[in-house]
Structure formats: structure tokens, C-alpha cells
């Protein structure tokens, strides 16, 4: 990444952080319903990988913590927020909600709420790419706890067996809801689990975008060159609760403080400041501009958008 890239990505990451924080507020105001899984703390994962990938060309699929992945692929944040508001202008026309953001035009193939469900879907997209002979790859972002599903293992086996162009990105935030990884999973290093299938893998810091980018680049070059699947484990942390009603009683405030010292946005910001590319004032201005954009463009659009027409309740069930 060039310095210009990094400045652009910092701005994007600030948007990603503030967007999610604004969702939190909208949820409290009951503008957003259902489950709401937020991304703060993990921004370097999605941004680092997608900077190394080709957004809107490569196919991306993920779980329910999906707003930022969609936006990073090219989805209009206004349409994402409108979807959270359940509006007709939402990217899934109000049928999906927070956990089911889709933007197929930008090859963001969706957010899915069954833990582990996207694993075989990603491999299937890779199978389709392989059949059609394109140079796209499929990228599957999921959490650490998803790796305990049966389809994880079934998919790894088939991906390697058929040499599919799929990258599995494991965003290891150390918890599946309130269960710590070491209480659910016999082998703590997730990247080691895939060795049993002969799949290439690596583990790295998920808070430092430069490190994520370098590892993702290696992984993506590998997959795109036809060598088969790759599994990349990113060590990260989510700052908020799993969903909205989470008192975080299962983890210590000390642990949280430790990870806040490794805030992915601050790491990138400080690096750019040290390089003389940015001042603290610039950054604060960036935050203010972002908030203005969120209020005046994104929230205003979601607020002003119409509800879906009830007469269209049964649209989109069958072709």
C-alpha cells in the first residue's frame, strides 16, 4: 500500500468505525431492530484483506457481522443503513436486515446468520469460478467459533481435494458470543487446524493493517495463481458486545483495555503522523467530516426513505 492508499484507507476505517457507532445509537433509539452485530476493533481485518484483493471482482461472503464487508466491497453505505432501518431503499429492500446485507452488483454475496453456513457457499462460488475459467477468487470471512461446525471440515476437505480458488479469512476475536475460544476449541491456533487437510495457512496480527495486508497479499497471490485454497487467521478483538444485549461479563475490563491499546485505527493514524503524512488535527477533522457525512447523507437518507409496500410482501420468494 502506498501512503496515499493508507490515507484513503484510514478515512474508510474511520467511516467504518463511526458508521457502526451510529448504528448502536440508532438501535438504542429503536430505529434498528433485531440483532445487531458491530465491527469496531476488527476494521484492519476486512480492510487489510480487501486492499490486497480486488473488490467488486472477487466474490466475498460472510456471516452476520457484515455491514463493513459490504461497504468495503462497494455497497453504498446509505443503502446499508436503509436496510438496517428496514426501508424499501435498503440494499436487500428491507427483507434482509443487519445480518443479511447483499450487494451482488459489487460481488458482495451476502451476510448469513447460520454460523458456518457460508463455508460451503464460498467453496461453491470457487467451483463456479474454476469452471468458468476466470481469475476471480472467493473470499469467506468468518469468526473463530464457526470453525467448530461440521461444514468447516467438509468444506476444507473438498476445497483442497478439488483445488478451489477460495480464501478463508478467520477473524479470531477470541470469543463466540460469550464463550472464550479456549473453552470451546481444543486447538487454539486456528490456522493449525487446517493442516490436517493439507491446506496452506498463516496467522498474523489482525490489528495492524500493514501486517494484515502483507499476509493477505501472499495468501491471495497463492489462491489466484491456481495453487488452491488458503486459510488466513487474523488475531483481533471486538470492542463491543457480541450483539446488543451483552454485558460482557465473560471477559475482564483489563483484557478490553489491553486490546484498546491496539486499536487498528490508532495504529494506522499514528504511523501516518510519524511519517509526517497527517497531523492529529487532520485526523480530528476527518472524524468530524465523517460524522457530518453520516448524519447528513446516510442517516438522512435512511430516515427519509419509505417503508416497503406491504402489498409486495410476497415478492422475491420465487422467480
Amino acid at each position: 500500500m502506498t501512503l496515499d492508499d493508507k490515507k484513503r484507507v484510514l478515512r474508510e476505517m474511520v467511516l467504518h468505525r463511526r458508521f457502526e457507532e451510529r448504528c448502536y445509537q440508532a438501535y438504542i433509539e429503536r430505529k434498528i431492530g433485531g440483532f445487531l452485530h458491530l465491527y469496531p476493533g476488527q476494521e484492519a481485518c476486512c480492510n487489510g484483506v480487501m486492499e490486497a484483493a480486488r473488490p467488486s471482482h472477487d466474490y466475498v461472503i460472510t456471516g452476520y457481522r457484515d455491514h463493513i464487508h459490504a461497504i468495503k466491497c462497494g455497497a453504498d453505505p446509505k443503502a446499508v443503513m436503509a436496510e438496517l432501518y428496514g426501508k424499501a431503499t435498503g440494499c436487500s429492500k428491507g427483507r434482509g436486515g443487519s445480518m443479511h446485507i447483499f450487494d451482488v452488483a459489487h460481488r458482495f454475496m451476502g451476510g448469513y446468520a447460520l454460523v458456518g453456513g457460508p463455508f460451503p457457499l464460498a467453496a461453491g462460488m470457487a467451483k463456479a469460478i474454476q469452471m468458468k475459467g476466470g481469475d476471480e477468487i472467493a473470499i469467506c470471512f468468518l469468526g473463530d467459533a464457526a470453525n467448530n461446525q461440521g461444514v468447516f471440515h467438509e468444506t476444507l476437505n473438498m476445497s483442497k481435494l478439488w483445488n478451489l480458488p477460495v480464501l478463508f479469512v478467520c477473524e479470531n476475536n477470541l470469543y463466540g458470543i460469550g464463550t472464550a475460544l479456549d473453552r470451546s476449541t481444543a486447538v487454539h491456533d486456528q490456522y493449525k487446524r487446517v493442516c490436517a487437510y493439507g491446506i496452506e495457512s498463516a496467522q498474523c496480527d489482525g490489528q495492524d493493517i500493514d501486517i494484515v495486508y502483507e499476509h493477505a497479499k501472499t495468501a491471495i497471490d497463492y489462491v489466484r495463481s491456481g495453487k488452491g485454497p488458503y486459510f488466513l487467521e487474523l488475531m483481533t478483538y471486538r470492542y463491543r458486545g457480541h450483539s446488543m444485549s451483552d454485558s460482557r461479563a465473560y471477559r475482564s475490563r483489563e483484557e478490553e483495555e489491553h486490546w484498546k491499546l491496539r486499536d487498528p485505527i490508532n495504529i494506522l493514524r499514528d504511523r501516518l503522523i510519524a511519517a509526517g503524512e497527517l497531523t492529529l488535527e487532520d485526523f480530528q477533522q476527518m472524524e468530524r467530516d465523517t460524522d457530518t457525512f453520516i448524519e447528513q447523507d446516510i442517516i438522512a437518507f435512511a430516515e427519509a426513505s419509505p417503508e416497503p409496500d406491504v402489498s409486495e410482501l410476497e415478492h422475491f420468494v420465487l422467480a
Binding site: R95, G124, V151, M158, A319
Partner: protein, 327 residues
């Protein structure tokens, strides 16, 4: 018209569709080198190769999901589940991914894939290899369900299912793969919705699907020759959506209805057809509709117990006679 077997009809449909469209693939356990448990994909591996006729590991959830993912990008996979009993392992992907994705995405993404499964009770296969599961599939929004009762339907429904932009579940029957029937020589696509009058009649409608159509046809013959009752047999080859109009029309003509299903009774085709009759033409009825169905037991192994658990044409005859106060 040539008389061929049900499995041959399926094989021909696979073959023609694969020849027509390079995006059509087949996947499943033992379908390739081994030619398929019921031969529905016989010879295709040799003809189309291992990239399009895929022997999968025994990972129903995994390969079903993989097929669905491929269909997102326009591949048309025909996913064979060796026995419908194993479909439970694939249902998460069938229902949560394939059936819902069009809706969840507001129409952006579709899963045009076909799931085929051998269902029904064969002979003494025991509880874990004898399930009828139509009732499970037919209640899922976003999934089409069809169930061919003869080779012509098997051929035409599979071809239409492959070309459909919706996910389609095809419920086959282990005892029917060797059944013979006429299939048109020229290409034929069977509609995925509707019903067929398998035999016209005027006194009572016998509703069946898949194997129970044959019980109904046998029963109709006995009712005609021995009891002077004219039974109409309606073949509900489409279980989702069910043909409300076809059901209404026939019952409005005969004023009596018996529904025969191999599935157990609580919840199912019989219950659903009776609900539709209530909603569409209750005042046309001369008698309360009756369903003929299996006992609510895990399928027993013992031959006598197994026979006792599953109805046949004699149960249909008995139910009709009761309707007419003759038994």
C-alpha cells in the same frame, strides 16, 4: 414414444441437459465412477468428466452448500442425495441458504439448483432408510417441490427443474426406479406447477402423488369393476406449490375426496389438501374428506410390521367404501 424405465428417464434428462448447457453439473455420492446408486447418472462420468460429474465425499451439508454456492454464479447443479433420510444433514443449506437467499437479498441473488433424493419405504430397510419426508420440504417458502409418479414425469420434471431459476427439490421413490412407462422421443419439459388427472371419474376424487398415485389407480379400477363407483385420480406431482385450482375443480365435480400418502399423517399432503378443500370448496362436499396414510412409527424392520405401517390400494378402497357407507 418409447417405453423406458424411471431411472433411464432420469438418466436421459441429465444427459440431454448436460449436453445442452455446459453449466449443468451433477454432484453426489457414488454418482460418477460408480454410475449412481439408482443409475440416474449412469455413463455421464465417462461422457462429461470429473469436473462436471462429481463424486463427492460423504458430506451432505458440505456438498449441498457447495452446489448452492456454485449456483449463485450461474452454475446449474443437480445435487443427488443418496437417500432422503440423509437430507436432514443438508437441510440447513437447502432451507437456510438456497430457499431464502432470493428473499433475503431482495431479489438480487438466486440459487437455481436441483436437489434429487430417493425417498419412500423400500423393503425392510429399517427406520433410518425408509423415511418419507415430503411434509418437511413442502412447507418451505422459496423451495419448489415436485415428485414424479412415472418415467415421463421423471424426465420432464427434472429437465424443467434444471432450467428453473428457483431451487427445486425432486422427491423420488426407491421402489419406482425400475418402473416402466412411455416417454416422448422428442424433448419434453413438464410444468413444475399444477396437477394431472391420471384417470377421470365422477363419484369421488382420489388424490395421490408419487407412489400413491399407483395405489389410487389400482383402487379406482377395483371401485369401478367391483363396486360401480367412478373414481377420479388426481396426480399431485407438484407438492409446493400445491395446485389449489386443480383440487377445487375435481372436488367440485365429485363432491368427495380421499387423499393417499405414504408419509405419516400428522402434518403433510393429506392435511394440506383437506385444508385447501375447506378453503376453496367446502360447500361442494357431500362427505368429510378422508386421508389414508402411514402409521406414526419409525419404520419397523420386521416384514409384517412394515406392511402394517404402510398403506396400499386396499386401504384406499376401504376408505372410499366407508365414504359411501358401504363398509
Amino acid at each position: 414414444m418409447a417405453e423406458i424405465m424411471y431411472w433411464e428417464a432420469l438418466q436421459r434428462a441429465h444427459d440431454e441437459e448436460m449436453a445442452r448447457d455446459p453449466l449443468v453439473i451433477c454432484m453426489g455420492e457414488d454418482i460418477g465412477v460408480a454410475g449412481g446408486t439408482y443409475k440416474a447418472t449412469k455413463g455421464l462420468y465417462e461422457k462429461y468428466g470429473d469436473k462436471r460429474v462429481i463424486d463427492t465425499p460423504i458430506s451432505e451439508g458440505g456438498y449441498t452448500g457447495l452446489g448452492i454456492g456454485a449456483s449463485f454464479l450461474g452454475i446449474r447443479p443437480v445435487i443427488e442425495i443418496m437417500s432422503v433420510n440423509f437430507a436432514w444433514l443438508a437441510m440447513d443449506q437447502m432451507f437456510n441458504s438456497a430457499a431464502k437467499v432470493r428473499y433475503m437479498s431482495g431479489g438480487q441473488l438466486t440459487a437455481p439448483c436441483v436437489f434429487r433424493a430417493a425417498g419412500g419405504a423400500a423393503h425392510q430397510l429399517g427406520a433410518q432408510h425408509s423415511a418419507r419426508m415430503e411434509k418437511v420440504f413442502m412447507g418451505i417458502a422459496g423451495l419448489r417441490v415436485v415428485t414424479p409418479s412415472n418415467p415421463k414425469q421423471a424426465y420432464g420434471l427434472l429437465k424443467a427443474a434444471i432450467r428453473s431459476d428457483d431451487p427445486v427439490f425432486i422427491n423420488e421413490h426407491e421402489l419406482m426406479y425400475n418402473m416402466k412407462g412411455d416417454v416422448p422421443d422428442s424433448e419434453y419439459l413438464h410444468p413444475l406447477e399444477g396437477s394431472e388427472i391420471a384417470r377421470a371419474g365422477s363419484d369421488v376424487t382420489l388424490f395421490g402423488y408419487n407412489i400413491s398415485v399407483h395405489w389410487c389407480l389400482q383402487a379406482a379400477e377395483i371401485l369401478h369393476s367391483q363396486h360401480n363407483i367412478s373414481a377420479e385420480v388426481v396426480d399431485l406431482y407438484a407438492l409446493s406449490p400445491l395446485d389449489r385450482e386443480g383440487i377445487r375443480k375435481s372436488v367440485s365435480k365429485t363432491h368427495r375426496a380421499v387423499i393417499a400418502e405414504e408419509d405419516e399423517a400428522p402434518v403433510g399432503v393429506g392435511a394440506e389438501v383437506i385444508a385447501i378443500i375447506n378453503e376453496e370448496c367446502f360447500f361442494e362436499l357431500d362427505a368429510a374428506p378422508v386421508r389414508v396414510h402411514s402409521a406414526l412409527v419409525p419404520q419397523p424392520y420386521n416384514h409384517t410390521l412394515e406392511k402394517a405401517a404402510i398403506p396400499d390400494h386396499t386401504d384406499v378402497v376401504r376408505a372410499v367404501l366407508k365414504l359411501f357407507g358401504k363398509a
